[in-house]
């Protein structure tokens, strides 16, 4: 309408506010995204209340409790509602505490990689020059190796352990954020209000903190959400291939240990954890997808 044609440039805060409200609205209106959010909520609840849902194993709660007297029990056996593994591990315990392990893994990796990525991306974007060039070439190199394969190689070299899986994921996943951050900076620099701010003689740091960072946050949020799912998926794949430690309450490990039983009709030991991995990844992908659509101007309705 005529009004919007001769609008005066909005302040950074307005821009942000409007974007977030838009995003939130379209997230709420999209049923699949809503579904994703519900699943995430439930999974997080499970992770947070794990100690109350099933009593932690001593001395290490992230180790499966092994009842060598009751191995290979089917679901429904007293005090093993989801059955037990070949080593007498309680599947339910694995499922519940596995959600914590996954949460740990994804949170650590995402936060670490976001920090690294944003830092490097910002340096490249703001400082520019040869530093930018070199950093971006490095990013290109990392980006030209498919994630899972890269993580696999790194984890293999570090040796099989849960910590090493997390480490390898951190090494692999920061790159996208650097890319996004740099792109955003270069993009937002041109925006009216940033120009205005510069004219008003704000310090670079000020502009960065007040205008650029908050605006870059949306695409990074999307990537982070998607990664929350991917990381668990990739991590589980690594564990499955045999790069984690056996005996810990981690879904990927449980699936690969449960495999042994599948051949003999003991489906439960791997089915339940596998299902959890699936739900986890699905939920975050749905929400991430929704977010992306909400931000992607092309797919917005007219």
């Amino acid at each position: 309408m005529a009004i919007s044609d001769n609008a005066i440039p909005m302040s950074a805060r307005q821009v942000r506010l409007r974007r977030w409200t838009e995003i939130f609205r379209s997230l709420m209106t999209n049923p699949t995204t809503a579904l994703g959010m519900i699943i995430i909520f439930l999974l997080l609840a499970m992770a947070i209340f794990a100690p109350w849902l099933s009593t932690p194993n001593t001395p290490d709660a992230y180790q499966m409790p092994r009842d060598w007297g009751a191995t290979r029990m089917p679901p429904g056996t007293p005090n093993h509602p989801l059955g037990t593994t070949n080593q007498g591990g309680d599947v339910l315990y694995g499922v519940i505490w596995g959600s914590r392990t996954s949460l740990q893994m994804s949170l650590i990796v995402v936060s670490v990689t976001v920090v690294i990525g944003v830092a490097i991306g910002s340096i490249a974007g703001i400082v520019g020059g040869w530093i930018d060039e070199t950093l971006m070439r490095i990013v290109d190199i990392f980006l030209s190796i498919p994630e899972l394969i890269f993580a696999l190689a790194v984890a293999a070299i570090l040796g099989p352990s849960f910590t090493n899986i997390i480490l390898s994921l951190c090494i692999v996943f920061w790159v996208k954020y650097a890319r996004i951050m740099r792109a955003q900076i270069i993009l937002i620099r041109q925006a009216d209000y940033v120009q205005a701010a510069r004219v008003m003689g704000d310090s670079r740091l000020n502009i960065f903190l007040r205008d650029i960072l908050p605006n870059a946050s949306t695409p990074i949020a999307v990537q982070a959400t998607l990664d929350m799912g991917n990381i668990v998926l990739v991590g589980a794949t690594l564990s499955f291939i045999g790069l984690s430690e056996s005996g810990i309450a981690e879904w990927g490990v449980l699936v690969s240990e449960g495999q042994a039983g599948i051949a003999s009709g003991r489906w439960w030991a791997s089915t339940f954890p596998g299902l959890m991995i699936f739900l986890w990844a699905l939920a975050f992908n749905l929400v991430g997808d929704g977010l992306r659509d909400a931000l992607d101007p092309r797919t917005e309705g007219r």
Binding site: A2, I3, R25
Partner: protein, 415 residues
């Protein structure tokens, strides 16, 4: 209704109280809110208004091109009488009241089945879009895009020119028929490259090419054969618009909806395109609904003009009537705005205030809050179309009849 100087041409299109609403996050937008006007055979009717006043939607409604959802047709009729086609059931073609003297049957474009609408689109009613750059498919050559329209509406003739008569049966003939109707399948497309089909196929495509070239030539495009092979992005804006026009006129339609055909072009070319449209329209006696926000253009080319504001017709009459003797305050404002150069497109610098929100609007004159002569009733009741001269109507309380509250115009406005 008849203008006193020349005998009234028959009405071929008659829009009656059209109402179109759009669903939006904030509510129902009454984009078109009871618009009525008629287009006479061979006349050019200008439809002017600011951006977003609903004039494009009004135009698109003739071709059923309003996206539903989000839009919904809340009411009204769009009557159309094709020159060629079935005869009027009442008079059998002699001309009568029912068919407005055209002698051909009357269709309600909002009610006819989709198949029927497709026959009309492009053949009887064509459209020229605002931005030829956007309205031409970038991945198809000009030739292909024009060919489509002939293959849709002129298959029989094309087959005839290619030497395939109705008697011809057998798989070759039917393959070529499929080609001529654009119903060819994967196999056909392969096989037509080889004997025995290839000769027939070549004759057919030759026939199509000839017509395309002719159509282009008519819009004074130099070297049509070369242009046929070109992709849209390889042509200048003016050229593209000529192509659009050629496409619109290809099947010699009765009515052309020209939606701001020159807006996207730079000023130097605008004039030429405008003249082209005008001459072709004269030559073929095609009726044109010329949608524009630019009064000066309308004044140059149109016979009659309807001024639209916020989804309603504010004033309608011959160019002479409206421009020399504007009755509606809004029209007057518009006219003041015309000569002023450098004003933002579609925005009236001279009139303070903005176009009102059209979400669930209250009754009352839409222009009230910008109107200098605003009166109490302006904000309480809807003004009705009031004749001020022969064929000149205005919807404003300043010109409102006191006594005859039951004039037909009145009914139209309130119903």
């Amino acid at each position: 209704m008849s203008a006193q100087d020349k005998p009234a041409a028959p009405v071929i299109a008659d829009m009656q109280n059209l109402r179109v609403q759009f669903d939006s996050k904030r509510g129902k937008v009454h984009a078109v809110d009871g618009v009525s006007f008629q287009i006479r055979d061979g006349e050019m009717l200008g439809l002017v208004g600011e951006t977003g006043c609903g004039k494009s939607v009004t135009g698109r409604s003739f071709l059923d091109l309003i996206p539903q959802p989000p839009a919904t047709i809340a009411g009204g009729k769009v009557l159309f009488r094709p020159r060629v086609g079935a005869l009027c059931p009442d008079c059998g073609g002699d001309g009568c009241a029912a068919c407005g003297g055209t002698g051909s049957e009357t269709l309600d474009l909002l009610k006819i089945p989709a198949a029927r609408m497709r026959e009309i689109r492009g053949a009887r009613i064509a459209m020229i879009f605002q931005d030829p750059g956007k309205a031409l498919n970038p991945t198809l050559t000009i030739g292909d895009q024009l060919a489509e329209i002939f293959l849709q509406h002129r298959s029989a003739a094309l087959l005839d020119e290619a030497g395939i008569t109705l008697e011809d049966t057998g798989w070759q003939a039917s393959a070529l028929r499929r080609m001529a109707h654009e119903e060819d399948n994967w196999l056909d497309r392969r096989m037509r490259k080889w004997p025995p089909l290839c000769s027939g196929a070549q004759r057919l495509s030759k026939a199509v090419a000839d017509r395309v070239a002719a159509a282009l030539a008519e819009t004074q495009i130099p070297n049509p054969v070369r242009v046929m092979k070109a992709y849209p992005h390889e042509l200048s804006g003016g050229m593209r618009q000529r192509v659009m026009i050629a496409q619109a006129l290809a099947c010699d339609p009765d009515l052309i909806i020209a939606d701001e055909p020159t807006t996207a072009l730079d000023v130097t070319i605008q004039a030429r395109i405008l003249d082209l449209i005008k001459t072709l329209q004269r030559k073929r006696r095609t009726s044109v609904l010329y949608i524009s926000h630019d009064l000066s253009l309308v004044r140059r080319v149109c016979d009659r003009v309807a001024v639209m504001y916020a989804g309603r017709i504010a004033e309608i009459g011959t160019v002479a009537q409206v421009f020399s003797n504007p009755q509606h305050p809004y029209t007057q404002g518009l006219l003041d705005a015309v000569p002023r150069a450098g004003t933002r497109r579609g925005h009236l610098a001279s009139i303070p205030g903005n176009v009102p929100e059209l979400v669930n609007p209250k009754p009352g004159c839409r222009f009230a809050d910008r109107c200098t002569h605003v009166m109490p009733q302006c904000t309480s009741a809807d003004p009705v179309q009031t004749p001020v001269a022969d064929g000149h109507q205005v919807a404003c309380f300043l010109r409102h009849p006191r006594e005859d509250a039951t004039s037909p115009a009145n009914e139209v406005a309130v119903s």
